[in-house]
């Protein structure tokens, strides 16, 4: 799948050849620097990008339905029902003029023919299941009356109430404190384990991925550069960018030593270098890296976008 935007200077490709699959019960973490295409990839799966400027090419196959081309009717049946989504800033996704309970119950009634009382009971149950104490009281609260962690739980309750087969979560804990984050991560893991729900978890926090996900997709400048089991990616990254991100983590360097960083910055849209997009920042770049890089099969279900992966022994977190 590729996403491009119509911009002043012409059409710009924001992501290119993003190909992956997620199975029931699998939890995929999507990581990478700001602007590398994580959010728009998530939004595109629900066709939530502005259709007038954004163009999606490729296939988005959800249990036999191509989400990129299916009709609005079919899309509405899937969006919010079989695929749920939670966002980084819950305030923008919740309607300030309705109580949180009403919003969840309304969402339910919009999708199935359900009585008011039944929707109310299911909404209360959903609030309870995400760890909200005294849900009968919270049902009547407006979003601004709740703390950030509480609002995020309400969002999750709203997304979970229809038992989606896939949940897309875009930085759902970035704005929260670590103790509240730990509660939310536990909740998401638990929901996916119990309900066999697939999870696409977008974050820039590798610790969160390590604790929550089974697989890790690393994105750089609009492309997937590595796809591997979380443990494998952390211990033996195959792409120099993944390795660089892992080495930049403060926790793993000796106290007060200099931290490694990745020099330079992500190329901006419209100025993508030909060949390997990481080339300007890669310490292993050689002649040959100026050729376009395909996402290569690295065995054991791993994929990597670097032709040198077999020659490089890159440090991971354990090194």
């Amino acid at each position: 799948m590729s996403i491009s935007f119509a911009m002043a200077g012409g059409r710009q490709e924001a992501t290119r050849d993003v190909t992956f699959s997620v199975s029931p019960g699998e939890r995929i973490g999507v990581v990478g620097e700001s602007g590398c295409g994580k959010t728009i990839t998530g939004l595109s799966l629900l066709r939530l990008l502005p259709e007038d400027v954004a163009h999606i090419s490729g296939r988005l196959d959800f249990m036999g339905v191509d989400l990129a081309t299916c009709g609005q009717e079919e899309l509405r049946g899937i969006r919010g029902r079989r695929i749920g989504m939670i966002f980084q800033e819950p305030m923008s996704a919740l309607d300030p003029v309705f109580t949180v309970g009403e919003q969840i119950a309304e969402g339910l009634r919009a999708h199935g023919n359900m009585s008011r009382a039944e929707a109310r009971d299911r909404a209360l149950e959903a609030l309870r299941s995400v760890g909200i104490a005294a849900p009968e009281k919270r049902y009547h609260a407006y979003p601004h009356q709740l703390s950030g962690g509480m609002r995020q739980r309400v969002m999750i309750a709203g997304a979970m109430v229809c038992n989606p087969q896939l949940l897309i979560a875009d930085e759902p804990t970035t704005a929260l404190d670590v103790t509240v984050q730990a509660q939310i991560l536990e909740l998401l893991r638990d929901l996916s384990d119990r309900g066999n729900m697939a999870l696409l978890f977008i974050t820039h926090d590798l610790g969160v991925v390590a604790e929550t996900c089974t697989r890790m997709l690393t994105m750089y400048a609009g492309e997937i550069v590595e796809d591997a089991d979380v443990d494998a990616a952390l211990e033996h990254p195959l792409h120099p960018y993944t390795s660089g991100l892992l080495r930049a983590l403060p926790r793993l360097s000796a106290r007060r030593s200099a931290l490694p960083s990745i020099p330079g910055r992500v190329p901006v849209l419209g100025q993508m270098p030909a060949g390997c997009r990481f080339r300007q920042r890669c310490p292993f770049a050689v002649d040959g890296c100026e050729r376009p890089q395909a996402l290569l099969d690295a065995g054991n279900g791993r994929r990597v976008r670097c032709w040198r992966f077999g020659d490089l022994a890159l440090p991971g977190v354990a090194a």
Partner: protein
């Protein structure tokens, strides 16, 4: 025995209250905090949002008036200075915030922004200010030609360097760093943290480093203080606080930090806290942490624990701090023995 040096900064029983949105109510943003910071030290301050970190930082550089308590710089209370002396002295106490965009005027060139504080303070001639600004930019690794650019033409890391350069023109001795890398991408956080460390070594700077990121604070700090609802719950050498924490809140905070480690290297059970930080308008009675603490007993409801030294240089406020310290000592002795035996 040598006499202890005068701390660069002494904070004594600092209290700061704000009028809350609800009529008549007050927010106790800082509720009796004391600590010292010594020259050349990096003092880390951690805690969840709303715990009062930013308010403490702002008070230290006199951007907010304490409701009670004193703040001494090199043993001197700025309240005793004439307003002229105070204006000159306060240049040595600077603060850097999280968002470099908010700190830089989008319509000013970088050089103008870096020179601005000197111009406001009326220091030197225009040419002297330009030279000082260019030097400060070189100091933080920004080439000359960046001076002609505007903020939107710079990356986040470069903008934060500009803000640091601007601070350096004031020749500060103490810098409060409030979440200075939080807005930066992980790949360049290291760069900015390395810069802070380098400036400290070369210029003898003292830092009050505020963050909610435990991996950052444990990497750079000499000592760490942990804040909860406007009070300190623990303070000690960085190793002790991160590796042998005494207070139940510190333990929960550390165990909540997601570790970027493969499953077989992850250790330790997680202490999951229930609920969220209570409102500072209406804090719990007794120990402020009791509503979320797994060890709370009746005593914790009725009496606030004393802030006391539990081990050398290691302070905590919990009724059972001595017991938790002994458990921690026993656990690490056991781990040591196992290590030796194996």
């Amino acid at each position: 025995m040598n006499e202890a040096p005068t701390p660069t900064l002494s904070v004594r029983d600092l209290r700061i209250e704000f009028a809350a949105a609800e009529r008549g109510a007050t927010v106790k943003a800082v509720d009796g905090v004391s600590f010292d910071i010594f020259k050349g030290e990096t003092f880390g301050l951690i805690g969840e949002s709303g715990s009062g970190k930013t308010t403490i930082g702002r008070a230290v550089v006199h951007l907010v008036e304490p409701t009670a308590g004193v703040i001494l710089h090199d043993g001197v209370d700025p309240a005793t200075l004439s307003s002229r002396e105070f204006r000159a002295a306060r240049r040595a106490w600077q603060i850097v915030f999280q968002d470099p965009n908010a700190a830089l005027n989008p319509r000013s060139t970088i050089l103008t922004s870096v020179m601005e504080p000197l111009a406001v303070a009326g220091v030197g001639s225009a040419e002297e200010r330009r030279v000082a600004a260019v030097q400060a930019m070189a100091r933080v690794g920004l080439p000359d030609e960046i001076g002609a650019r505007y903020p939107h033409q710079l990356s986040g890391g470069q903008k934060q360097r500009v803000v640091i350069a601007r601070t350096l023109t004031m020749k500060p001795e103490l810098i409060v760093c409030d979440e200075v890398v939080a807005a930066l991408d992980m790949s360049i956080r290291g760069d900015v943290l390395n810069l802070f460390a380098e400036l400290q070594r070369e210029l003898g700077l003292t830092y009050l480093f505020i963050t909610h990121d435990l991996s950052v604070v444990s990497h750079i700090s000499d000592r760490i203080a942990v804040a909860y609802l406007g009070r300190l719950v623990e303070l000690g050498p960085a190793e002790a606080v991160t590796e042998a924490p005494i207070h139940p809140y510190t333990r929960a905070l550390l165990s909540a930090e997601p570790a970027p480690l493969p499953s077989h290297m992850r250790t330790g059970a997680r202490i999951l806290l229930e609920g969220e930080i209570p409102s500072p308008i209406n804090p719990p009675s007794g120990c402020y942490f009791r509503t979320r603490c797994g060890h709370a007993v009746d005593l914790c409801v009725h009496r606030a624990p004393d802030w006391r030294e539990i081990a050398r240089g290691h302070w905590a406020a919990c009724h059972f701090a001595e017991q938790f310290r002994d458990e921690e000592t026993a656990a690490s002795a056991e781990a040591g023995a196992k290590h030796q035996g194996g």
